[in-house]
């Protein structure tokens, strides 16, 4: 009737968040290897990302089931569930991006690669801030709000870079329309990670203010 699940649940949530951070770091390594044309390494990292993403799903389901089965935290159960499910969309998006790079192998010119890496850095920073905020959601909601507000600022930087990238892609007359559209697609899916982070951060701010 009154089992203390706190350690088990907090450990699970922390490993869920750690996995997202690992996926985030792996994607950066994947991109660096891609620009060095180490495609074998890219494939290896893509598989690692997929494994971690599956683990994230498993952990999230376990945590959600435990919270509902044991009727824990009744007043913020819905918010925790929402936060975990939204957070889980981020590794999903990164996994999809990794697979896209691995299978479609877009031809990115060297002058664009720096901006692609910058875009990846900003998206990565959004995720790191979001994970910090999410960790504090269970302890100190003021810190959560602070971190989540920073996510929006970094996301704006990512938006600027993605706009610059699109301008450069479409102003390059060497490439045909198909290549341009293909490259734009990769800019958009990388920017989507930052956008998703911002959406989750917004949700976290609301949940933190409410509780």
């Amino acid at each position: 009737m009154l089992k203390n699940h706190q350690k088990e649940l907090m450990d699970s949530i922390n490993s869920f968040l750690d996995n997202i951070l690992n996926i985030n770091n792996l994607f950066k390594t994947l991109l660096e290897n891609y620009f060095k044309k180490n495609f074998n390494e890219v494939e290896k990292i893509t598989n690692q990302i997929s494994d971690l993403e599956s683990q994230c799903d498993k952990i999230r389901r376990n945590v959600e089931r435990k919270i509902y089965q044991e009727t824990l935290i009744p007043d913020m159960r819905g918010d925790v569930l929402g936060v975990l499910e939204n957070l889980d969309k981020i590794p999903g998006q990164i996994q999809a991006n990794a697979h896209s790079f691995n299978t479609e192998k877009p031809e990115i010119e060297s002058e664009l690669s720096d901006n692609f890496l910058k875009l990846c850095d900003h998206a990565s920073e959004c995720i790191s801030l979001l994970i910090d905020g999410s960790r504090n959601f269970f302890i100190d909601k003021k810190i959560t709000i602070e971190k989540c507000l920073q996510v929006s600022k970094v996301e704006s930087k990512a938006d600027k870079i993605s706009t610059d990238l699109k301008k450069n892609i479409f102003s390059n007359e060497k490439n045909g329309l198909a290549t341009k559209v293909h490259l734009r697609y990769f800019v958009e899916i990388m920017d989507e990670v930052a956008n998703l982070s911002e959406d989750v951060a917004d949700r976290l701010i609301i949940s933190s203010s409410k509780n």
């Binding site: 009154l2 706190q6 824990l72 009744p74 007043d75």
Partner: protein, 335 residues
């Protein structure tokens, strides 16, 4: 036999109505399951009744100079039972102790008996003061609990576990405190006739003080077990939304007030400190719970308070005792 049936009926009604006061906020906030809450309520209400009910029971004995005879007690109880059933139907929590006192008052006026007005005045003062005290205390307890949580930097699952544990422990203490209070309200009216020898289906049944309190509290528990689930699950939500920490603050308020007015040891210690004297008396747990809920609702600037139901309850605090008094007076004039 008729006396036993009246006590049983009243006890079951009270159990239905008052289990909500102890575990209602915990079950309503989904921190405790009803079946566990009611088991704790059952056990501790009986213990509380046997240990402490004799102290607040004395009030009934001292209210009238010449107490009604045993065969007249039903005239006092029937108006109480009728009005309480009506208030339950209207989903308004009522105070059995207040109803009984005002029914005795109506009886005394109708039968031209002399009433201890000094005692009656004191009771009314305390009945008006205790909800106010509950309102202030619940706010203080809410602050203290939140300060402790912030100081200890607990995560949400630790808070959940600690609050759940406290709700069970304090719920049991509140049931213990309520046990004396409620049982005193129900069987206290028979307190001048303790050591009753009753005929139950040709069996001689002798009832002493402890048996009477056990019997009363057992039936309160039974009433709670059988009929209170809906009320327990909806308590609070009729007035305002209750969060687990608020539920704990309300429970602590109940314990503090109910024990202060039922435990002889606590009363003598409190009287050393206070400039005026308090004494053991049956209080309204429903009024204390209501005031506690309003107190914790002040944290959200009363945004979640349902004004219509709140006003209805406050009006009922005056209307119910008056209705019982009037009904008792009219019944006693005719019988």
């Amino acid at each position: 036999m008729f006396e036993i049936l009246l006590i049983a009926l009243l006890a079951i009604i009270v159990g239905t109505n008052d289990a909500a006061n102890v575990f209602g906020s915990a079950v309503g906030s989904k921190m405790l399951k009803f079946k566990f809450a009611i088991i704790f309520f059952f056990i501790f209400i009986i213990i509380g009744a046997i240990i402490n009910a004799k102290y607040p029971s004395g009030v009934y004995r001292n209210l009238l100079d010449s107490y009604p005879s045993l065969d007249q007690i039903y005239l006092i109880l029937i108006p109480v039972i009728l009005i309480t059933i009506l208030s339950l139907k209207l989903k308004i929590p009522s105070s059995i102790s207040q109803s009984i006192i005002f029914s005795i008052f109506g009886f005394a006026l109708a039968k031209s008996l002399s009433v201890n007005y000094d005692l009656l005045k004191k009771l009314i003062y305390f009945w008006l003061a205790t909800p106010l005290l509950a309102l202030i205390l619940s706010i203080c307890f809410c602050y203290i609990i939140q300060l402790i949580i912030r100081f200890l930097k607990l995560n949400v699952f630790q808070i959940d576990y600690q609050v759940r544990l406290c709700l069970i422990i304090f719920g049991c203490i509140a049931a213990f405190a309520l046990g004396s209070n409620l049982t005193a309200s129900i069987v206290g009216i028979y307190s001048p006739f303790l050591d009753l020898d009753l005929n139950v289906f040709n069996f001689k049944l002798s009832i002493d003080e402890n048996k009477l309190y056990f019997f009363g509290s057992f039936l309160i528990g039974l009433g709670a077990l059988i009929f209170s689930q809906k009320i327990v699950q909806s308590v609070g939500f009729q007035i305002s939304t209750i969060k687990p920490i608020s539920a704990l603050a309300i429970l602590l308020t109940q314990i503090f007030i109910l024990l202060s007015f039922s435990s002889d040891i606590l009363i003598s210690k409190i009287n050393h400190v206070l400039p005026f004297e308090i004494f053991a008396m049956p209080l309204s747990a429903s009024h204390i719970t209501f005031a506690g809920i309003i107190g914790v609702a002040s944290f959200n600037r009363f945004r979640e308070v349902k004004p219509l139901h709140t006003i209805k309850i406050i009006i009922s605090w005056f209307l119910i005792p008056f209705s019982v008094f009037l009904l008792s007076y009219l019944v006693c004039l005719n019988f």
